[in-house]
Amino acid sequence: MKGHNFIYFLKEGIKGIFVHGFMSFAAVSVIVACLLITGSFALVALNVNVLIDEAKASNEILAFVDDSLSDTEALALTSKIYQVPNVLTAEFITRDEALEDYYAELGEDADEILVGITGEDLRHRYRVQVVDLELADETATALERLDGIGSVRYSQDLSDATLSMQKALNVICYILAAILVLVSVFIIANTVKLATMDRREEIAIMKMVGATNAFIRWPFVVQGSLLGVTGGIIAYFAQWGVYSYLTRALADYIGGSGFIEFLGFGEFAFPLLIVFLAAGLLVGVLGGILTIRKFMKV
């Protein structure tokens, strides 16, 4: 594209925005609202995903070795366990190590609770982590069937509930994004349409003197893009404010127990900015192109 053409498109695009200032304001507002709603859901989903990933990392199956096995036989089970599908790691923990773990976990109260208990009262065990959490159920059953494994302890509550929540959140995000993209494209298309109405005569003259369709289209695409990108930038800062405020308020409410830790805005600020700008640009360009398409005949 020639430099003087670019300047012309930019000038005309900006002119189009200000001629219908209120409509442009409405279009930017709608884009901001749409991005903010979608963004908020996406950030909730992101936090849940991170929490689930952490939970996944700590979500383990304990496979207790049958008491009748000797220490050597118990250790020899390792290779059998690794043959079970979906097993990622299997760590052998002796009775004594298990007792130490309990002491460490219980802290000050350990002496009181574990009074009189020795390593001999516990069983050797394997701490097993799985590849796919959704198949953990089957893996636990398979481990239990192994000769030499007495029983298996595995909490499936976390996985089932959180996984379905995660899925639901992701689905909601996709649906919201799709609906809001449509709404944004529609409103931008209408804003650009007002500009084309004003300029019907100009467009007719442009065609008459031999302007190409691309040349005629550009100012409107620029107008749509500018509206979209402006919306994206404003939405980014609004999202920053909303997210920071809400996470602080929630953290205060929970009482800083450290039970749930939210991601800091900085951890995803740049990708979020890129996504918002790209989304703004996309709806802007689409809105511009859709509107001008019908003027392109003849």
Binding site: I205, M208, V209, A211, F215
Partner: protein, 226 residues
């Protein structure tokens, strides 16, 4: 240069606007296209500017063969034509200068060339002193001269003037026609569509008369009465 060979044009509503037209207009000619309303004059203009396509027959305009003219080539064809309308079609919120410059700007000409060429065109049509005026501040004749400057600014091979004097009084009409004659003498082909016999008769130029979608007269020597 315009060539029509057995050209037919029917519209979707069934109107048969042209019924087998043969036409040849060479470079540098000054031609009047006359005829009553509905005779097919406007259709001929629309065909030349590729606003509509012929239903049948062969057409050649400034080297563009309409049998295989792609939509993407239409802008190129139109840059070889300049069109002047009865209602001027100037952009109201642009000055005289901007209206003429606009025609150059939208085909991608650079600012330097625009600054060079627009003043020359305004001088040619005698409006240099009104470059900064808006169309509403001008008389009908002046507006039509702006429209002619705009049609000329991209240096077309043919100027098509569609009822250029339709909204003007006789004195202004003669001025406009005189301007077109001057432009023709500088080498541009002029096709003037009109139904004003006084104008046609005062110029000893070739007259093509249409009636009912057919050419009923083609020769010089004044208006052909149908």
């Amino acid at each position: 240069m315009v060539r029509f060979a057995d050209v037919y044009k029917s519209y979707d509503n069934g109107t048969k606007a042209l019924k087998g037209i043969d036409l040849r207009i060479d470079d540098g000619e000054f031609v009047f296209l006359v005829g009553p309303s509905g005779s097919g004059k406007s259709t001929v203009v629309k065909l030349i500017t590729a606003e509509v396509r012929p239903t049948d027959g062969k057409m050649l305009v400034n080297g563009f063969n309409f049998s295989n003219l792609r939509t993407s080539q239409i802008p190129r064809l139109r840059r070889t034509l300049g069109v002047v309308f009865q209602d001027f079609r100037l952009i109201e919120n642009m000055t005289v200068y901007e209206n003429v410059a606009f025609a150059m700007r939208v085909i991608g000409e650079g600012s330097k060339r625009i600054r060079e060429r627009v003043p020359i065109m305004l001088e040619l049509v005698g409006l240099s002193h009104k470059a900064k005026r808006y169309p509403r501040e001008l008389s009908g004749g002046e507006q039509q001269r702006v429209s002619i400057a705009r049609a000329l600014v991209n240096n077309p091979r043919i100027i098509i003037a569609d009822e250029p004097t339709g909204n003007l009084d006789p004195t202004r009409s003669r001025e406009i026609m005189g301007l077109l004659k001057k432009i023709n003498e500088l080498g541009t082909t002029i096709i003037a569509v009109t139904h004003e016999s006084a104008i046609v008769n005062s110029f000893a130029k070739r007259v093509i008369a249409l009636d009912g979608g057919k050419i009923v007269h083609d020769g010089s020597g004044g208006y052909y009465q149908v």
